[in-house]
Amino acid sequence: MIASLALILLAQLVGEAIARGAHAPIPGPVIGMGLMFGFLLLRDSGRLGLPRCLPKPLTDGTLENTARGLLLNLSLMFVPAGVGVVGRLDLLRAQGVKLAIVLVVSTALSLLVTVLVFRAVAARVERPGPDGEP
């Protein structure tokens, strides 16, 4: 558990350092996600004999379980910022109704266009037949 957390934090820390250093428009944690992905690829390729020198929790599924635990409660992590919104709703008062219209309409259209384009392109590129993931 601690080894898993340490690795996750390390990935974020390095990601953050890269993002700041390179002034990249990508958030540090997203770069950290890429680094973690790279780590998993390396670990399972077995090329460097990595599984033997890694602490056991990083290879026996503990890392994956820690990840699952965090992702299952992703909603919780938006609460502190969300509570801040309740306190600053006065900022919306001047343009409240208009902003509500913009938010609802644009979010709905954004969902609609994204899903339709995904489906249309997928139908074109993918061979007919079950894809395994309906």
Binding site: A11, M33, L71, V83, V86, G87, L103, L109, L111, E126
Partner: protein
């Protein structure tokens, strides 16, 4: 009475109290959401925020005092983003096969969001600085605030609009996709992550792990693309 008061003053000063309130409210909200069969309207973020906001209002607690305790939960957003790598890794074959539809949907979705936001805002006569704060609203809050600030908007207003967008998207996505009879969880998840960033991703993980995986990818890609497109779109459409 004064004894009770000094206990309150003591507790209110430590992170323990507000951390406990946040977690308890979330457990309660999660129970409510589960009891409704994870109905989209019973959004756990929305319920928890309402509960905690109520407690803060009743006790007259200022937000910065609350955040002292809640920051530990807030901090976990970063690690939670990093571990999106795990479902992505487990499903890398599925993701690789869907690369072309993903990139097409990303370009169309990010472009549409910006164009619709800016066009609607113009139509409704929303002042320019507010439009700048609105433009990056579908992007995860850290990046959105950075974009707004760089373009001369108000980052605090952006953060509010981002959270509201996330909640709206998370509530809309399931009924909308069901009405459209779209059962491809990859497409549904990707749309949720693109339009409603992390809150949409949290919703997608509740529905299916495939949807959650694709939502996470969409969230990451959209942060990148919108950071590039937002200044261009504002320049072109204003």
């Amino acid at each position: 009475m004064s004894g009770d008061f000094s206990l309150w003053v003591y507790l209110a000063k430590t992170p323990l109290l507000w951390l406990t309130v946040t977690l308890t409210a979330y457990v309660l909200a999660d129970r409510i959401a589960a009891a409704t069969g994870r109905h989209p309207i019973a959004n756990p973020v929305l319920i928890t925020v309402t509960l905690v906001g109520g407690v803060l209002a009743l006790t007259g607690t200022p937000y910065p005092v609350y955040f002292e305790g809640a920051q530990f939960v807030h901090f976990l957003l970063g690690p939670a983003t990093v571990v999106l790598a795990m479902p992505l890794y487990e499903r890398r074959a599925t993701v690789k096969r869907a690369l072309v539809p993903m990139l097409a949907a990303l370009a169309a979705g990010a472009g549409t969001t910006l164009a619709v936001v800016i066009a609607l805002a113009r139509l409704l006569d929303i002042p320019q600085p507010v439009v700048v704060s609105l433009a990056p609203k579908s992007v995860t809050s850290g990046v959105a605030m950075g974009i707004a600030e760089a373009l001369g908007g108000d980052p605090t207003l952006t953060a509010i609009l981002v959270i509201l967008t996330g909640i709206i998207g998370a509530i809309l996505v399931t009924p909308m996709m069901n009405a459209l009879k779209i059962h491809d969880m990859r497409a549904r998840g990707f749309a949720a992550g693109l339009a409603a960033h992390g809150i949409g991703t949290a919703r997608a993980f509740q529905v299916s792990e495939v949807a959650g995986t694709f939502a996470g990818i969409a969230m990451g890609l959209n942060a990148f693309l919108t950071a590039i497109l937002a200044p261009l779109a504002l320049h072109l459409l204003f």
